[in-house]
Amino acid sequence: MITFENVAYSYGGGELLSDVSLKLAPGSFHFLTGPSGAGKSTFLKLAYAELRPTSGRVTLFDNDVTKLSRDDVARTRRRIGIVHQDCKFLDHMTLAANMALPFTVSDRESSPQDLDDLLSWVGLKHLADALPPQLSGGERQRAALARAVIVDPDVILADEPTGNVDWEMSLRILTLLVELNKMGKTILVATHDLNLIRQAKAQIQARVLRIAKHRVQLAGADL
């Protein structure tokens, strides 16, 4: 699905990530952890072609990222669901319209039934007509997750999806992610919340990647 081969990324100054090689297999569940500023978000951005590696090769669905045109990137993103810590919506459109946005921008029709089901699944059915600024942090996170999965993507990348919510809500979001994984989606969650990782490991076979000293390593079973 997503492959990194000797990937390095540097921001003008020194290298933030170097010599990263790994493969996200279909149906796998990975956590990505490490201290703030270690490069978790950068890693995710490389994985959805927001950034291009300064050296090495990132392959998304068998396509070399450096060879993708802007339209190819758009098409690739339709196969990747992305959830951010501070998820952005179009504030002038209702929650339901925001959910359907991935369909709208690809000139496809979303089925009202699917939309309804998805909103019930994340527990936001009663807020379908609300505007995004009226939602709480936890509601926004769940809405972002719903928007990420509406087009039935193969991969879900989540950057600190529980960063702004309390523990109870974190568990709820984790449960949703686990359910998606059980449906066969490849999941990568960047988080610094070790409790969340422990909680997940109790429910599912999850691997933990740790960023340390610019490298991404597979963490041991000590978590």
Binding site: A74, K88, A96, V105, S106
Partner: protein, 298 residues
């Protein structure tokens, strides 16, 4: 039923909806497009009118000339006959005729008023000469006239008509240049407005890119909006300009330059082409600005 399902909008309409409604500055684009088109109608009228004038003058310039005869009363008829005889034997002349008193009076009336006693005044006799193709040798004719009718003077109009015709065609050129400048200024203004709108909506664009929108989809939303606004503004501007031109006093027989300003015949169709042209300019300018700006954002 949820709002998006309840009103099945066309993809194009929905592309418009994903960009938030732009605030109170939106009408500035419409206003500028209107003002520019209004100006353009007058530049067009000026250009077309001076074009007509230049054509008319150069045509007349090319074809006719006048022989003016000033002689003592008893000499007039003798010399007139001599001139006509000379003209009859000069090659390169299509036709000629002496203007009679009534015609001379008509020519002078605008300056001296009616009831002019032409006979009592030492008014020169006028003979109109229309040249053929190839034309006569004007220098040769002048010398021949000097010998046979000393009071005759050949005026081939060149001296005073050529600068006027040149001025008229220069004005036509300036009119065309003004139209081009107005179009370019409108394109520049729309580009600035579109870039500002794109910058204001950078966050929206980021969200759209994140969920897999292509550049063309995002650009469509902006392009449609600016094209429609420009079209509306230009339509109002063109209508106002047309009313303005139509309200100008009509050209009378005296055929002055200023009163001739306006459209004639099919020329009236030109202003109607302006709003679509303005819309095309807006379309291209916004499209270019949008793709440029989108490349700056990931």
């Amino acid at each position: 039923m949820r709002p998006p399902a309840a009103k099945p909008a066309s993809p194009a309409t929905r592309a418009l909806e994903v960009v938030p409604p732009s605030g109170p500055t939106a009408w500035l684009t419409t206003f500028t497009a209107g003002a520019m088109t209004f100006l353009c109608v007058f530049a067009l009228a000026l250009s077309l009118a001076s074009g007509r004038l230049a054509n008319r003058w150069s045509e007349a310039l090319a074809k006719t000339s006048t022989i003016r005869l000033s002689a003592p009363a008893e000499q007039v008829q003798i010399q007139t006959d001599a001139i006509l005889a000379a003209l009859a034997t000069t090659p390169g002349i299509a036709s000629y005729r002496a203007l009679d008193d009534a015609e001379t009076r008509a020519l002078l009336e605008p300056w001296f008023g009616p009831g002019l006693p032409v006979e009592a005044l030492p008014i020169p006799r006028l003979i109109e000469v229309v040249e053929a193709d190839p034309p006569y040798d004007s220098e040769g004719l002048k010398q021949r006239l000097a010998a046979e009718a000393p009071g005759a003077l050949l005026d081939d109009h060149t001296r005073w008509r050529r600068p006027l015709a040149e001025a008229a065609s220069r004005i036509r050129l300036l009119g065309g240049l003004s139209i081009a400048l107005i179009g370019a200024a409108m394109a520049a203004m729309i580009t600035l407005a579109a870039r500002a709108a794109l910058a204001t909506n950078a966050e929206v664009i980021r969200v759209l890119r994140l969920v897999g929108a292509k550049d063309s989809y995002i650009a469509r939303a902006f392009v449609r909006r600016f094209t429609l606004r420009t079209l509306a503004g230009a339509a109002v501007g063109a209508a106002a300009g047309l009313i303005g031109v139509a309200a100008l006093p009509a050209a009378d027989a005296a055929g002055g330059f200023l009163t001739g300003l306006g459209f004639t015949g099919l020329g009236w169709l030109w202003p109607f082409a302006l709003p679509p042209l303005a819309a095309i300019v807006a379309f291209l300018a916004t499209r270019r600005a949008a793709f440029q700006k989108l490349r700056e954002l990931t």
